[in-house]
């Protein structure tokens, strides 16, 4: 009846996951009850859960990422604490639990923090920057988000029901095969990622179509803001790379569920094929995460230097070059596995070549700042912190790209330090920069500056104190993922890293505090102009938060830095006091399709993990029925009448003019 599921799946003998799960469950219940008591459910259902508005979906993606950051961060703290104390001792985490934690940490941070954070920011901002009213496929967008949430949910369910994979963030066979991992851990991994992978693919298709087919009048390719370009590149990579992940995990699933022999040791299976396939996805994945961050830094550096981005065209070229070369370097993840010197040399050289366009970008940002009037607001701090940190991470990456050096450093903490250096330094700093930069656009008030700056400095210093020691420990020969160790020389570095983790945790806590403080002080921090940073692109041309239709009249773009031109023009000729010609606007209706579909996906995923076959069928039928019901509806759009558009827009313009008059700009 319930497949493999019985009471033994609940880890009653392990206090740590039980207590953690208890706390999480309690927090969720408390929030649910609070929302129920306050009567927020109808509002949440109407305005958020069923929303197909790209801004709302973007915000929900980012919220998911931030909650998962807390979960993944807790895993990180536990691991660092374990390695701080586990010298000549077993520490406080038993090996099988430690293995689950490092697997969950990597999986969560990449798939449920990095991905939703950048996809959320792209969703929120790209249609605004392109000057359009929505993404190409609004309902599909909602489906994509909720499927990602399903994946995150399933991974967290594994905390209480059953176990998570002990195979690392990528489940290398033969360890991940049924013979060596008979539990449900790897199944939790594969099914959550298959489901959330579909969500990611949907988001990728949606955003590529949006950038290529939905741009406002006059927004030619070479007038798009840099963030739109990096969005395009990143989502092209999603479309080309995520199907590889889907196929590879499907093969692993077939091995585990039906006794196929793709990656087994017996009957001709080929383990190296898994390595090649998973990294053919895995390396582009790195750039899927980092390219949007590069786009954010481009926007932030240009805005806060009050200068046009230096070398815009070379930046576009570098972005697209990275997009292509990122598919030609995957083998550098397993130089040591015997491909031979010729193959290794080719991939080593390709890996060094990809550093060139990245270097071009760094110089472009530096030259954008050069001679500019740089304002050191929080987003700019994150950007400068990124430039310094990322250069170090990039250089250690070039070291690892040299095959002979890689033979020594492979699988050591040096490698761990390197990829944290680039992923934290670029993706996370970029996400934080984008979060602080665009928060006022999404909510109409800025984030508190003082706590933001404190959070930045704690995170920056904490990062160096945590990860620089790991480079040293790696050079001293310490391999990654050690549950305990007996080498005295490593000990001080582990303690230093532990102290750094405390600083990082304080940084995260300060960001949470910043959110609370800002919400409490929102009236002081209110932005009525829609343009709090003196921005240059079209998202600042509408109010904050933007109305459902984004722009009352679709803007007409005449050059790069579209909004900057509008402002200059307006200052010279006082043009924006003319009343535009308002028309009725058609907007897509909200739909619960995404949420219901994800509900059935969750049921199906859980049933597949536990081999509850009737429930799998139920989930599949439910998902199909959901689509049919969606396809059957007669009205998929509603009309906002011109008078209403005019009313909203007049209020916005009045507030904006008042603020500009106050600043003495509008004359």
């Amino acid at each position: 009846m319930l497949g493999k599921l019985d009471w033994s799946a609940i880890p009653i003998d392990e206090p740590i996951p039980l207590i953690a799960a208890g706390v999480v469950l309690f927090a969720i219940l408390a929030v649910l009850i609070w929302a129920g008591v306050k009567g927020h459910y109808p509002y949440l259902w109407r305005e958020w859960i069923t929303s197909v508005d790209h801004k709302r979906i973007g915000v929900m993606y980012i919220l998911l990422a931030m909650v998962m950051l807390l979960r993944g961060g807790t895993d990180a703290i536990m691991m660092r604490a374990q390695q701080t104390v586990a010298y000549h001792s077993n520490g406080y985490l038993p090996p099988e639990h430690f293995n689950q934690i490092f697997s969950a940490h990597g999986t969560i941070m990449i798939f449920f923090v990095g991905m939703p954070f950048v996809i959320g920011l792209m969703n929120l901002i790209v249609p605004l920057q392109l000057g359009v009213r929505d993404v190409a496929f609004p309902t599909l967008n909602s489906v994509g988000f909720w499927l990602t949430a399903t994946g995150a949910l399933l991974i967290n369910v594994s905390l209480v029901v059953g176990e998570f994979a002990r195979t690392g963030w990528l489940p290398f066979p033969p360890l991940s095969e049924l013979t060596y991992s008979p539990g449900v851990g790897v199944d939790y991994y594969t099914w959550s990622l298959e489901i959330s992978g579909i969500g990611t693919l949907v988001a990728g298709i949606n955003l590529v179509t949006t950038v290529l087919k939905l741009r406002t009048r006059g927004m030619t390719y070479l007038r798009m803001p840099m963030f739109c370009w990096t969005t395009l590149a990143s989502n092209l990579l999603i479309i080309a790379a995520f199907p590889i992940l889907t196929a590879t995990l499907a093969m692993l699933i077939l091995d585990r569920y039906f006794g196929f022999h793709f990656f087994t040791n017996e009957a001709g299976g080929n383990v190296m094929m898994f390595m090649n396939l998973i990294w053919a996805w895995g390396h582009p994945e790195v750039y899927i995460l980092v390219l949007p961050a590069f786009g954010i830094f481009s926007e932030v550096v240009s805005t806060f230097s009050s200068k046009v981005l230096f070398g815009y065209r070379s930046m576009v070229l570098a972005t697209m070059a990275i997009c292509i070369i990122s598919f030609m370097v995957w083998l550098h993840h397993f130089f040591t596995m015997g491909a031979g010197p010729d193959v290794n040399a080719i991939f080593g050289i390709a890996s060094m070549i990809i550093a060139v366009p990245t270097g071009v970008k760094i110089y472009n940002w530096l030259f954008t700042m050069f001679g500019g009037r740089v304002r050191f607001a929080v987003p700019m701090l994150w950007s400068i912190g990124f430039m310094v940190t990322f250069i170090i991470g990039g250089l250690t990456g070039v070291l690892l790209a040299v095959p002979p050096a890689d033979f020594l450093l492979h699988n050591s903490l040096f490698l761990v330090a390197h990829f944290h250096n680039v992923i934290i330094g670029a993706v996370l700093f970029g996400a934080f920069a984008g979060y602080t930069y665009w928060f006022p656009k999404a909510f109409g008030f800025r984030l508190d500056e003082a706590t933001g700056k404190a959070a930045f400095w704690f995170t920056l210093v904490g990062f160096y104190v945590t990860f620089m020691p790991l480079y040293v420990a790696g050079l001293l020969g310490m391999t990654r993922r050690m549950q305990h160790y007996d080498v005295a020389a490593w000990r001080p570095w582990m303690i230093a890293a532990g102290i750094g983790t405390v600083l990082l945790a304080i940084g995260v806590a300060l960001q949470v505090l910043q959110l609370f403080v800002s919400i409490r002080r929102r009236d002081e921090l209110r932005d009525t102009t829609g343009d709090p940073w003196d921005g240059r692109s079209l998202e600042w041309a509408t109010s904050s938060p933007p109305p459902a239709f984004n722009f009352a009249v679709l803007p007409n773009v005449t050059g790069e830095d579209a909004y900057w031109r509008v402002k200059e023009h307006a200052r010279r000729q006082d043009l924006d006091k003319r009343e535009p010609d308002y028309k009725d606007i058609e907007m897509p209706r909200n739909s619960p399709t995404g949420f219901v579909c994800a509900f059935f996906a969750t049921v199906m995923g859980f049933a597949l993990i536990w081999h509850i076959w009737w429930m799998v069928g139920l989930g599949a039928v439910g998902a199909f029925a959901t689509f049919v019901v969606f396809a059957w509806r007669d009205h998929d759009e509603y009309i906002i009448p011109a008078t209403e558009v005019a009313r909203i827009d007049r209020t916005n313009l009045a507030a904006r003019r008042a603020a500009l008059d106050l600043a003495g700009i509008a004359q």
Partner: protein, 216 residues
């Protein structure tokens, strides 16, 4: 409703609206029909990437028969040729259905779609028979890595055809219930793209798996 008028009856059949001018001065968001079809093309691309992984794994594992039978001993080219014929004919019927939808002929549309469905089901039955026969002869997917890759590649295509049949029946019901609405015509466009793409993949499977495989 302008986007639902006869596509091929106009001077600009693909609604490119003058690509040359669009390069110089971008005219704004594309109409829905273009956006939908474009997005679906991108989905098909991603699907083809997924198939390419299964093709690659098949190529890698081709020789790994683990002492079991190889393709030359297993494949029956006559049955495969019949499958190919059924699938290509079903694509032709699907093309007829698209034309019928363009001229708003519900009767011809339903007839052509029903024919597509029958031919597609015929393909699926032949494929299921082939699979059952192989398993019966002890050459199931668990026998060797080669057979795992074979069953996965061909079976994945078969699953796509099955999903296509489900979609097809839904389209027939929808046109019956709602008529040729703009959004339904857009879906029909996507369905036709999907069905033809499955043909392309089958041609690759026929060549790479069956033709090369039965020779070796």
């Amino acid at each position: 409703m302008t986007e639902t008028t006869f596509a091929y009856a106009q001077g600009d059949p693909h609604r490119l609206r003058g690509i040359q001018q669009a390069e110089v001065a971008h005219e704004g968001p594309a109409p829905k029909r273009i956006v939908t079809a474009y997005g679906f093309w991108i989905f098909l691309l991603s699907d083809i990437v997924m198939f390419s992984c299964f093709f690659a794994s098949y190529a890698v594992l081709l020789g790994q028969t683990a002492g079991g039978p190889s393709g030359a001993q297993l494949f029956d080219l006559r049955s495969t040729a019949a499958e190919t014929a059924l699938l290509l004919l079903s694509s032709f019927a699907c093309g007829l259905a698209s034309i019928a939808a363009d001229v708003r002929s519900a009767r011809w549309f339903q007839a052509a779609m029903a024919l597509t469905c029958v031919l597609g089901l015929g393909f699926l039955i032949l494929e299921a028979r082939e699979f059952a026969d192989l398993v019966g002869r002890g050459a199931g997917p668990t026998r060797s890595a080669f057979l795992s890759a074979f069953f996965t590649l061909v079976g994945c295509h078969g699953l796509h055809v099955s999903a296509g049949v489900l979609w097809l029946l839904t389209m027939m019901a929808q046109v019956y219930a709602k008529g040729f609405r703009a959004d339904i015509l857009r879906r029909m466009l996507c369905f036709a793209l999907f069905w033809h793409a499955l043909d392309i993949i089958w041609v690759a499977i026929f060549s790479v798996v069956y033709l090369i495989g039965s020779g070796a």
